[in-house]
């Protein structure tokens, strides 16, 4: 695994109104593999991703991407530097067709035919529903469309927020296969997830958050084999590990 940090957060604080959500977040994402951001509900995982994307600006600290300080950049500028974002609600344009959703994500205005076929091989449903409005897709299909949109052009880093939320088990399995394919294609991924079973075989690195801070970083292998950390930081019982 590469040792180069693609993304680095140093002492990042984020306030939303009067609430102090991120209270000094520090962690790094290598330029390959899947980094999983774990933690209980409400500890600041989604806020971290939104701060990275510039959707909420950090009130203190520094976010560096590919060696550049992006802390105060506009969201569109951050995206154009090679970060794709799949939000928790997937952000599908319900009135736009699947094709239009994907077309919009291709900033060049063109599809690379081979890449599109590769995406169809990952998510066959998208080809089948190509001219259907995004709003008519099922939850799983919407998640696939959201990821397809993020990878229609090569990106350096994918930020994916809780992709398994509300999905049927078969769909989760399908999604895991797709993410493995992306990982093998050397796309760096930062994945926010609560479903530890989903990420334990997928993740390479972990950062665990609690109360607006990262309280543990390390390898997934280490976390998967350490029930004490799992219990203490993630509230997982023995049966689930």
């Amino acid at each position: 695994m590469s040792k180069v940090d693609l993304l680095r957060l140093e002492g990042v604080h984020t306030h939303i109104g009067e609430y102090h959500i991120l209270q000094g977040v520090d962690f790094a994402v290598p330029d390959e593999g899947v980094t999983v951001l774990l933690g209980r509900n409400g500890v600041g995982k989604t806020t971290t991703l939104r701060t990275l994307m510039g959707l909420w600006h950090a009130s203190a600290g520094k976010v560096s991407f590919d060696g550049e300080d992006i802390t105060q950049l506009d969201t569109s500028e951050i995206s154009r530097r090679g970060i794709a974002y799949v939000p928790e609600d997937m952000g599908i344009f319900a009135q736009l067709t699947v094709q239009e959703n994907v077309r919009l994500a291709a900033l060049s205005g063109r599809f690379d035919e081979a890449r599109l076929q590769w995406i169809f091989s990952l998510f066959p449903a998208l080809e089948r529903f190509w001219l259907r409005p995004g709003g008519t897709l099922s939850g799983g299909q919407k998640q696939m469309l959201a990821i397809a949109r993020a990878i229609i052009e090569p990106r350096k880093l994918l930020l994916i927020d809780e992709p398994t939320k509300g999905l049927a088990p078969a769909m989760v399995q399908n999604l895991a296969e797709a993410l493995r394919a992306l990982k093998q294609a050397r796309t760096a991924i930062l994945l926010v997830e609560q479903n530890f079973h989903f990420v334990r075989s997928l993740g390479d690195h972990v950062a665990v958050m609690d109360d607006g801070k990262v309280v543990h970083t390390g390898s997934m292998a280490e976390l998967a084999s350490n029930e004490e950390i799992q219990n203490r930081l993630l509230g997982l019982g023995t049966a689930t590990t």
């Binding site: 969201t75 690379d112 796309t187």
Partner: protein, 355 residues
């Protein structure tokens, strides 16, 4: 399922097709899933039901044409308001100021072009009206640019402040109009070639109403093409639905918004010029007088929907015209009655945002 794992970063030597290429459907097919034929059907049904109530067929045709012409002008004025509301969640009550400025500029330019506009030749009148329309649109586009920077940008995300500041801005613009042009009524006389009526059998058809209907239809179709077939249209439709996601995809939504705001102001200016020609006499309150109707159209059409704005404008104008003829005492409440009826049927308006 997973058949290839090799092309994520390095796109192989693949043919690059335009996004509008093989996967693109014809316009009608593209819009078919979003099709919603009930509202236009309602407009047609309304007109048909009005026929026995009106009684005489020639009168009904005259009333229907009057309603359609009025609806088209209201659509032109309100479309920008709807898009701005849908795209940036900005309630711009100052939109009415663009209508007033458009009408006043049109009046001044028409006065300056008197020889050409009222020469009596069709080509001269047509050219003069085009110049008048362009002048009205350009002036309100520039005003829109300034207006957005001064009054809208500081109050994003705060509806109460938007309402207060845009009403204030409308009053300021009205007062500036009065101080520049004076307090007297303005006139905007129609050129001879589009004045008066022609007859088809027993039916008297007002020429300018035909012009208004044709122009409104052309603009509507143009907007549909813009939204359905172009990348900027796609971007606007997406922005109306979820502007945050549009930003996250790498687009500078603020620039799109300013463009839409300026275009909306220009359309309101054009609408103001047309309304000025239609009424031939008006004051600085011409926009404010139409504001309630524009807001009702935006609400019943569905925020951010051009299609909804079009159908809503026709519905409102036809009801108002028929009621004004059949039950003049109820004319004033007909607008609100239409809004209540539509919102009871479809609380979010006739069409979804971005359609």
């Amino acid at each position: 399922m997973i058949t290839s794992t090799s092309v994520a970063q390095e796109a192989p030597q693949s043919k690059v097709s335009t996004a509008e290429g093989a996967a693109t459907a014809p316009l009608a097919a593209l819009h078919a899933p979003r099709g919603n034929w009930w509202p236009p059907f309602l407009v047609a049904t309304l007109a048909i039901f009005a026929l026995p109530l009106v009684g005489a067929f020639p009168t009904w045709v005259t009333l229907t044409l009057a309603g359609l012409a009025m609806g088209m002008m209201l659509f032109i004025m309100a479309s920008g308001l709807s898009l701005v509301f849908g795209l940036m969640d900005v309630m711009n009550l100052g939109h009415a100021a663009f209508v007033a400025v458009g009408a006043y500029v049109a009046s001044s330019v028409a006065g300056a072009l008197g020889g050409l506009l009222y020469s009596g030749t069709s080509s001269g009148a047509l050219l003069g009206m085009v110049i008048v329309a362009i002048a009205a649109m350009l002036s309100t586009a520039v005003l829109g640019l300034v207006f957005e920077r001064l009054f809208i940008r500081p109050v994003y995300g705060d509806h109460l402040k938007q309402i207060l500041i845009t009403i204030g801005a409308m009053i300021i613009v009205e007062q500036l109009v009065l101080s520049f042009w004076g307090t007297q009524q303005m006139t905007l006389v129609l050129p001879e070639v589009v004045r008066g009526t022609f007859t088809l059998g027993d039916i008297a058809v007002e020429r300018f109403r035909v012009v208004a209907v044709v122009l409104g239809l052309v603009l509507y179709l143009g907007l549909l093409l813009l939204f359905g077939r172009t990348r900027i249209g796609l971007l606007i439709r997406a922005g109306v639905e979820n502007r945050e996601m549009v930003q996250a995809l790498g687009y500078r939504i603020q620039r799109v918004f300013v463009g839409v705001f300026v275009a909306g102001a220009a359309l309101a200016g054009l609408g103001g010029a047309m309304w000025g020609f239609y009424r031939e006499q008006f004051t600085a309150a011409v926009g404010a007088d139409l504001l309630v109707q524009m807001l009702i159209i935006v609400v019943i059409g569905g925020l951010g929907s051009v299609r909804g704005c079009f159908v809503g404008a026709l519905l409102l104008a036809l009801v108002q015209t028929y009621v004004n003829y059949l039950l003049p005492d109820l004319a004033l409440v007909s607008n609100v009655a239409v809004m209540v009826a539509v919102l009871l049927w479809r609380p979010r308006g006739l069409y979804a945002a971005g359609t």
